[in-house]
Each structure stands twice: as C-alpha cells, then as structure tokens.
Symmetry: C2
Subunit: 457 residues, 2 copies
C-alpha cells in the first residue's frame, strides 16, 4: 500500500489509456482445443474463419504467441469518446455492509450503449473498415450488443444490419430506436429477407424468434453481401482480447495505490466482460506474482459452468457455427425467461471454460430474487442502477464482503459493473411489485439440453 | 492559452470539487423584485416561505450578500457519487462541422437520474434532513426531477411522495419504476389522497392531470404532513445557486488551459441548468474581467423569453404560489405537446429574466425538428444520445460554430449538455419515422396565455 487515500472514483488520464490489449493465451491454462469444422471434424483454418469474420479478428482469435497486441491509434481515438472508464471505490456499500473488505468496481455503463459491449464493437467495426468492408451484420437479443455495434458502425461509416429477435424488438422498442438513431437497419427476426428466416417463418408462422435464428440470418446475410462480414459480441477469444482493456485500466489504477485484489468477481454469460476484467490479474497469478482468486457468477436459470458439461458443442442453437470446446448446457438448451438477457447463453467462452476446467477460476450460480435484492441495495447507496446482468456480480461481492466481516478479514474485492439497467425496468417493476420469481432448471430440462451436444465419434 | 493540448474529457480531481456555490445575486443585474404574497401583494417574508420550503433553502433564496456559499461536507460527499462531471472538448463535432471554433460541453447526464437535476435534489434533501424533517414531497412531469429527488431522498433516508402527472406516469412507466426502485412513493396526479386532487377529479373525472395540479397536491401534502416540506426542481434562486456547481467545475477545468469562452449556451425551461452554468462566467463579465456572451435556447413551442412578457405572475398554473417577476407566457398558457418536457414551462427563472431584461443575456427559440437534427448528428459523432432538452443547446452551438466557419472566427463555445435521452425514445422514434412536427403557438394562443397574468393594480 502506498498509503495515499483512495478517491471515490479513479479516472486514468487519456495518456494512460492502454496502448495494447492483453492476450492471456500465451499462458497454457488459458489455451483451449481448436474450433472444429462440424462437417469434417477437423480444426477450422484461418481461411474458413475469414469467410465469416474480419481478417484481423481471425488473426487475433488464433494468436497464442503475443502477450500484448497493439490497439490501433484510430481505434484508441474512438475509445476516448467513452474511455478510460472509472474504477470506483464502493465506500458507501462498504459502510452499509460494515465490512473490513475494500470493494472496488470497474464501471462500464457510462456510454450510450450502456455496457462494456462497445469495447469490442468498436474494435471489430474498425477492423472491418480497415479491411475495406462496407457493411457488417450481427444479431441482438436484449439489445446491448446491437446498440454498441450501431454506435461503432456510425462512427466508422459502415452500413449495419441488425437481426433483432422479434419478441425483443417488440418488448424493447426503445432499444431498437437507439439503434435506428445511430443509423442501423434493424430487422425483426425471423424475417423474410433470408432463406433461414423464411424457412422458420414457414415452419412456425407466428414465432417470436430466437437468438439462434437471428444468428443464422445475420451469418447468411454477411455471406451473401459483397464486402460484408459477420460480427459477434461475446464468447470468442478476440472479443475477450478487446475486453481486456477493462482489466488493464483497472490494474493501472490499482497499481498507483499499490493495491492487489484478493478476489476478482464478474458475471458470466458468454464470458467476454469477465474474461476481459480478469485477464491481466490472472496474468500476474500465472507469473507467480500474485495470489488473486477469481469468481464467475452465473444465473441459476442458465448455469453453464456450475451444472454444464465440458464438451465440444455448437456455439449457436441453429447448429451452423464451428464446434467449440466449452462448458455447455447443450446448444438446444432453452433457458426459462429471466431478466438477465445477456446471461442466457447455453455455453461459455472457451478460454474461461479452460480456466474453470483447470481450476484457475471458481463459479457460483445465483437466483434472480437475490440478484435484484443486491441491485436495489447497491442502487440506493452507490447511486448507479445496475443492469440485471451486472447485479449478479454485485450479489456475489456483497456475499464475499459479509464473509470478510464474519471472518474479520480485510480483503480487497474487485468486481465488474458491466452496465446500467435503464432498459431493464420491466424487470425492476416485477421486483418492486414482488412478482419476480427464481428460476432453476430441473434435472430433466438439463438432460434434454445435454442430449443436443453433438457426438464427435 | 497555456499551449497544453486539451484532452477529450477533462475530469477534475475530488479535491477540486467546488467547496462553495456561486451566488450571482451579489451583482445588481442578477437581482430581481421580491416574491409577492398573492393575497396581500406584499413581499413574502422568510417565515411565509419557510412554511413551504426548508429553512436553509429560504435563507439561500433571499441571500444577496454572500458571493460564495459553502457546500456542506456531507453533501459534498454525496456529490462524489456522481461529480465532478466531465467537461468534454467536442473534437469530433468540430471536425464534422469543419469549424475553426473550439466547442466544449459540460456533460451532466452520467448519473442514474440522467440529468443535472440531482445537483439541487441532493442539496435540498440534505437540508431537509439537517432541519430534522422526515419526509419531502414534490411533483414531476417528464420524470427527471422526480428521479433525482428519489435518489437523494434514498441517500439521506427521507420518505418521499412524488406526485407524477398521471398521463406521464402512464406514458413513462419506466421513469416511475426508477423512482420506486429508489424507494419513492409515486402517486399519479390527480389522486384521491389530497383535497386538490379530489376536487379536480370531481370536475374532470377522466383527466390525465397537469403539472399545475401535481404541484398543488405536493404543496398540500407537505403542509399537512408533520416534519415535511415541499421541494422544487427549478426556477427558484436557491435551485440556480445549487446548479452553479456546473459552471464552477467548467471554469476550473477551462482555467487550467487558460481558456475563456466567447460564448456560453444553455437550454432554458425553468432556467436552473443555464443559470448554474453561466453564473461564474457572468460573474467575470460583471467584474469587467471577460467579454463572454450568453445565449439561452428555448423551444419555439414555449417561447417565454423571446415572446413572453416581463411581469409578476404565478409560478404555477393552479395560482397557489407566490407571484414572481419574470418573463412569462401567462400561468394559464398551455404549450402544445412537444418532446422537451423539461422546457414546457410558462415562466422563467426570475434571475435569468432580470438578466435578459437588463441585456446581459440573449435568447433564441428553436423548432423541434431542427433540434432533433442536431441531436442525431451529435449522437453519431460524439457518442452521447442527448435529451431533447439538451439538444436545444446543441442546435444553437452548431449554428454558432457554422457562423464561426463562415466568418473565419476561432471562437470558444461552451454549452451545457444537461442530460441523456434514454427515456425520451418515443420522441426519437417519431423523428426516425419522419413524423415529428414543429410547433409554434399562434398569436391568439399567446394572447389567451397573457390574459391569465394577474393584474397587480
């Protein structure tokens, strides 16, 4: 400890904005088996991947060599519209909990997309532009990712088609409107503009759509449009790489005060925010320089790490993508409706899956009533209304801080506050009305999901 | 100029957070005739005002003696949950406009209430608590103010009744939900919980309510509840005083780079944000140290400065409040529906009215299509989706920057970006759909409004 008083909010200067991302895959525990072509069962080549994704992103996806990967200057300039983001000392939460623990959170919600998603959206839009592409496509469910990509596409002058799960586009018209305001073409999915969409509409005329179908439509549109590629917001290694800026900024700020976290906590859906937050801290552990512990928090309704299987599986429910080795509930697992839309994913980032499998990472599943209890407590004392996804991390941080109080331990806890809940207020309404329910899949639901994991033999 | 490169965002350190507010009323041009008791037509005494407002706020309201008024330590601590706010150099907007002007904006939207309103809500809640009160009441239309006060009341442990215009509470259920999440009791107005509400419900059974009625209900509730006072979010001098923190922070940041604005621009509804932004800069002008010009921007649908009269009028449409000398369209003027809810007020802060009357301040009225053109342009290059209210200031700043380009003048423009548009997306939808219309009152509408200005003879 340097002894300096830690301020409420730590902002880095613009010169301190990281110049490189951190690639954890130079260390063996973060490496994972290769993606497989589902037809040949052979490892995907860069060429295969480049048909779908931007060239530079594919290079990053496969890079196990460079610990530091440079952030291009023009992209750093865009980052300056919303970064560096604040690292906040949760003095008020500490007081409320009467805990000897020091609690810090890295807040990624102070941008119009409302979440950390913009970190990778910006990078992927930049690389698309640099490659000479004129448009990109993606899908969005809850809408954070689509909003982030709309902002990035507007900034770099790319056309963007967003396939938005139809039921979401109806339930969250305002999310759609933000994307339109940024110039994106928002298409409720399933649509009649793709074969995949038309096929689904024929089979299920009144369907509200699914993320699986929206992915299929976006991939098809990218494949059939000249100078166009598909862009994905989580799960993949290059997305985690871009998100490492979260952890890097946090570490630079803490280093100034000589603070090393004992525990780093993040919520987990596809894994990109937590993968980004933990990267440089885990790097220190893997170098033998620190003893930080890492705790991922998932919803009990979609417990891919805590109740899933470590196996090769499709990344999408439509079974179109390469196979990834990851913790999965099965690509056919349908989580019951819960209010953390960003955490409703059957699988988990292959990097985080490998780390969990190797014992570098703990995980816990939490029910949503407890999550909203934590969210409201946090909102009232720290001022920020958190996204339901982010509140999973808050809930675990509160539990750990209470443990510290009970054990009389002065630990340093850092968690990721990934976003704000301004577009999730129907969930808060249910909570305020007392009608919010906990959801946990029965064993037979899990079994049905596991049955959809493809056999490799 | 110090020659240092100005960063994209200027954040003050916590030590630099102002320790005092700035009271412009020590200067003659900012002083205005006293509030009058509508029955006796005599100046209101402090005792009369203290029956409605907190004691310390009344003292501030009447203070023409102290240029600097101390911000209490406990309040400064709450300010640290969301302040200092960033002063942003609009490099991207400057590029887009190809202007030699330097454009800066002070961004007040990075808190959960989404606007500058929290600056005064925090102060008023603090003083209520300090006075030993246990609850406060207020009204809210668009919802920003009610949200801000909910947050402040939660922080200081006060009960809060918010009378929310019924039609707003139905059209903006999520605004209501934020307030509930912060523990506020939100009552759609007119309600059957007050005499004023019951009276209106009898007369107009199906009414959607009005701000005037909501004010009446809140004032009545405060008067009849032990240890309770009423709290107002704009117009009054003490609210402008609290908002001076906006201008003070801006000036501290600019001073570091030796920058003096040539032009300060703000949107105007009740006037609190612009009154706060301009205060210390106008102080310099009144001391003969600077030649800054000041430009207020109002909606053409509610043009209180540019088309109103300078007269004593009621502050509310229900004609219950003291009379204030101000520019007014008449307390009975009903602005047509427009999307800048925060700017739909028949009158104008008495301080700003006096300044405008004395020639210290210019004003311009802008139609909402032009405002949304500016909003979308700004959102796409600077990243932030502005509130429709704030976009009035953006629109004028763009006009002035274009004038600078045409005249080849390198002026420094500072404007107030008071908040975000996350809860105003139905307005953006109309704009995106091309169905947004300009609104400007006809002469006979103005005449009907002017007829409601009370006669003092």
């Amino acid at each position: 400890m340097s002894g300096k008083k830690v301020p409420y909010k730590m902002y880095l200067s613009e010169e301190e904005l990281p110049r490189c991302w951190y690639n954890l895959k130079v260390y063996e525990p973060a490496r994972h088996p290769p993606f497989l072509n589902p037809e040949t069962k052979l490892p995907c080549t860069a060429e295969e991947l480049e048909r779908v994704f931007c060239r530079e992103c594919v290079a990053q996806e496969l890079n196990e060599r460079d610990e530091w990967i440079e952030i291009p200057q023009e992209l750093r300039r865009f980052y300056l519209t919303f970064r560096p983001s604040p690292l906040v000392r949760a003095y008020f939460l500490e007081e409320l909990l009467d805990t000897p623990a020091e609690i810090y959170y890295k807040f990624e919600g102070n941008n119009t997309s409302g979440s950390h998603k913009l970190n990778s959206a910006a990078a992927q839009a930049y690389y698309a532009k640099k490659q000479g592409l004129t448009s990109v496509t993606t899908e969005t469910g809850a809408g954070q990712w689509g909003t982030a990509l709309s902002m990035a596409a507007a900034f770099f002058g790319l056309h963007l088609d967003v396939f938005m799960v139809k039921i979401s586009s109806e339930q969250k018209p305002y999310r759609k409107e933000v994307m339109r305001t940024y110039g994106a073409n928002v298409i409720p999915s399933p649509s009649d503009t793709t074969r995949a969409g038309r096929k689904l509409l024929e089979q299920f005329p009144g369907t509200g759509g699914s993320l699986g179908c929206a992915i299929s439509e976006a991939v098809e549109r990218a494949a059939e449009t000249p100078n166009c590629r598909y862009v994905l917001g989580s799960v993949l290694d290059h997305v985690l790489l871009h998100q490492s800026i979260i952890g890097l900024e946090s570490k630079i700020a803490l280093d100034k005060y000589g603070i090393v976290p004992d525990l780093v906590i993040g919520c987990m859906g596809g894994g990109s925010n937590f993968g980004g937050l933990l990267a440089p801290f885990l790097g220190e552990v893997l170098k033998g320089r620190a003893k930080t512990r890492f705790l991922g928090v998932e919803p009990s309704s979609c417990p891919s790490l805590t109740r899933g299987k470590y196996a090769y599986d499709f990344c999408d429910s439509a079974q179109m993508t390469p196979l990834a080795k990851m913790y999965t509930l099965g690509c056919g697992f349908m989580p019951s409706h819960n209010h953390a839309g960003g955490l409703r994913y059957h699988g988990m980032s292959p990097i985080l899956s490998a780390l969990y499998h190797g014992g570098c990472l703990d995980a816990v599943a939490v029910g949503q009533r407890k999550v909203f209890d934590a969210a409201v407590k946090f909102a009232r004392c720290e001022g920020i209304l958190p996204a339901p996804e982010s509140a999973h991390a808050i809930s675990a941080a509160i539990d750990e801080a209470i443990r510290c109080r009970e054990e009389g331990r002065k630990e340093v806890i850092l968690f990721g506050l990934t976003g704000t809940g301004y577009f999730d207020l129907s969930a808060y309404r249910q909570y305020n009305d007392g009608t919010l329910e906990d959801i946990m899949p029965e064993e037979e639901e899990l079994a049905r999901g596991f049955a959809t994991i493809p056999s490799l033999t």
